[in-house]
């Protein structure tokens, strides 16, 4: 009798174990972002006894290399994180699983349309975006007050236009004898993110969705490079790398700071830093267009599709997107309208101060090879900032390069 019980129990456990689908997920999140992802995965596992999601953390700079080789070797993870800007490079090469049949209509209809459109390639859905992360303007309240940049009520003045930002930054820098008026990394932050923002505000376009062609406006590109160059020739900004730009702002040595919203997991916890966050200034008469990246989940293609696994993986990534209010604690904006308007999200501190850019986000065009263009933009931006290229030369270089990459 006893033996029978043991056998039955063993069988029952065995069946349970068999029924459980294990899903491996590659992420590159660390710090505050890392904790939030792990927490959400644990919650998913607790709520779904039939699925076991196992997270594998890959170093940020290495994820795409490893993913590429893993897919080529036929042994990729079941799910991976992927920036929306990189999606066309993988989707166009048949490296990802189309997700149209796996994600529910209700969720798809809930998406901010612009983001959902970018998650498609050639009419098929290849990614489930779960955030956008715009570039924003951080300001140091203590420094701005010391510099006398306050209104009658003693509230810190916030720049609405670029000219205002430059004059405030200059005033604070000179009055307080600071290193810089605005701190920012020169590569990605200026060459791509700020460039894209200012260029879009000038009315510039990268890509024409209708004719499916790349469209750069040389005049507006040049104006943008001239603007970026002027930030440095005026002495308001100095060339520096990312850690330096952050340290200067965190240590009360820069009144303003360009960075993405992802630092919102960290900055509020820093002692001695009294800061605020707001959307980037605008060119008068323009809408507040702002650069934004986006994190998505993708299901890499395997030599042989396992429908049960794909379904379980899809279930996880859809669930994650729906529960992104939790993820938004890291600073990111949700991409589902229901989450974007939820109490859970808007109740987070300072989110109201920048959530209003959600309608004006500009992300990378849906073009194969854009990653290469993006990295070239970092480089050209640096060359302009360092005076190694005139805005005119930079414009020619960019326009030619884009043409070359798209035609390759």
């Amino acid at each position: 009798m006893k033996r029978l019980l043991v056998v039955t129990l063993l069988l029952a456990f065995g069946l349970l174990a068999l029924a459980k689908t294990t899903i491996t997920v590659w992420t590159f999140f660390s710090g505050g972002e890392g904790f939030l992802v792990t927490e959400l995965i644990n919650r998913f596992n607790a709520e779904h006894p039939d699925i076991e999601v196992v997270e594998q953390i890959v170093e940020w700079g290495q994820l795409y290399n490893k993913l590429t080789t893993a897919i080529a070797a036929g042994d990729p993870p079941d799910v991976s994180v992927m920036h929306l800007a990189v999606l066309p490079d993988f989707a166009s090469r048949g490296a990802l699983t189309a997700l149209d049949k796996y994600i529910s209509k209700a969720t798809l209809q809930d998406y901010v349309p612009e983001i959902l459109a970018k998650a498609h390639y050639d009419g098929k859905l290849y990614a489930v975006p779960f955030d956008t992360h715009p570039l924003v303007l951080y300001y140091n309240k203590k420094l701005l007050r010391q510099a006398g940049l306050v209104d009658e009520k003693g509230e810190v003045l916030l720049p609405k236009t670029w000219d205002e930002l430059l004059s405030y930054a200059k005033q604070a820098k000179e009055k307080l004898g600071l290193e810089v008026g605005i701190s920012s990394e020169i590569g990605a932050m200026m060459g791509d993110r700020l460039f894209t923002t200012y260029y879009a505000q000038l009315g510039g376009q990268f890509y024409d969705e209708k004719t499916k062609t790349v469209k750069l406006d040389p005049d507006k590109v040049k104006k943008t490079y001239e603007f970026i160059r002027s930030l440095y020739t005026s002495g308001i900004m100095k060339p520096m790398d990312y850690p330096t730009a952050e340290s200067l702002f965190q240590n009360n040595q820069s009144p303003f700071h360009f960075n993405g919203v992802w630092v919102m997991a960290l900055y509020p916890t820093l002692e001695g830093l009294e800061f605020g966050v707001t959307r980037l200034p605008t060119i008068p008469g323009s809408k507040p267009y702002t650069w934004a990246g986006s994190h998505t989940w993708v299901i890499p293609k395997k030599p042989k599709d396992d429908p049960a696994k794909i379904a379980a993986a899809a279930k996880f990534i859809e669930w994650f997107a729906r529960n992104a209010a939790e993820w938004a604690k890291a600073g990111h904006l949700p991409v589902l309208k229901s989450v974007l308007n939820s109490e859970a999200f808007l109740g987070l501190p300072m989110r109201k101060d920048y959530a209003n850019v959600a309608e004006y986000l500009v992300s990378s065009p849906n073009v194969k090879g854009w990653l290469e263009v993006m990295l070239k933009m970092f480089e050209i931006g640096e060359a302009v900032i360092l005076g190694k290229m005139t805005p005119d030369e930079a414009t020619k270089e960019l326009v030619n390069f884009v043409k070359q990459v798209v035609e390759d």
């Binding site: 590429t68 090469r93 048949g94 290193e179 590569g187 520096m240 090879g369 970092f378 640096e382």
Partner: protein, 295 residues
Amino acid sequence: MAVYRKKRHALLAYLFFAPFLVLLLIFRLIPFVNSIRMIFYKWDIFGTPRYIGLGNFTRMMSDKTFWASLWHTVYFVILTVPPIVVLSFLIALLINSRISFKNFLRSAFYLPYTLTISVVCITWAMLYNPYFGMIGRIMKFFGLEPINWLSDPFWAMPAIVATTVWWTIGFCIVLYLAGLQQIPTSYYEAAELDGANGFQRMFFITIPLLKRVHVLVLVTQIIASLQIFGQVYIMTAGGPAGRTRTLMQYVYEQGFRYFRMGYAQAMAFVLFLVMFVFAYLQLRLMIASAKEELV
């Protein structure tokens, strides 16, 4: 009987070799042959390679970034190798002389070589930081304007060179120390009896007798420096404005970021040819000096 034993010995030798040979075959030779084949193909890793003849090489000819990267690599070699050779020789002389704290000095100079590349690069990047780094603070103390080493198009490469020299010099010092200890003291005693001064002892005994070490250090350092990647990748990512992008960095970018595996392999092949020339040179010089010693 003797023949049989010889055969058995050979068999045994190959057997002992086998584990290494198998690994060499799988992880070196087969990939090497494949990568040489790939230089004639266009291949994005996922799809099927497409034969394009010399297409990758014509692309290289007109690729400004390739030429710039090649030049940055050569520039790095020019800046790195002479100080490594000269300094490692001088430091080895110092350690080999009759000074106190010999063992301490030997370990101190060798220590950096045992660190991993990321530790070295991240530490040096901190030192180089113009606002918070130690070098900037020292410059400020002496009333100098701190230099933004890694973000400056002129200084970025010398900064990477300084880091590299600090990191790798320990190995060359050890080679020179070994060489110095092989020179019989009787030569110096004889020279001293003949009235040779320190200068003459140095130039007529020490330096010529270290010929093989000079060749070894020089050539291995040239070959190692041609492959510079990690320092650049971690400290500047090829910046600012691409001024420190080396050939290996560009190979990596083209292959793994932009899915141009064939092109990347073709460029790596060019680097291979350059290194092959130096390796061959080393072999010739080594053989020549070995013959000399036999005479």
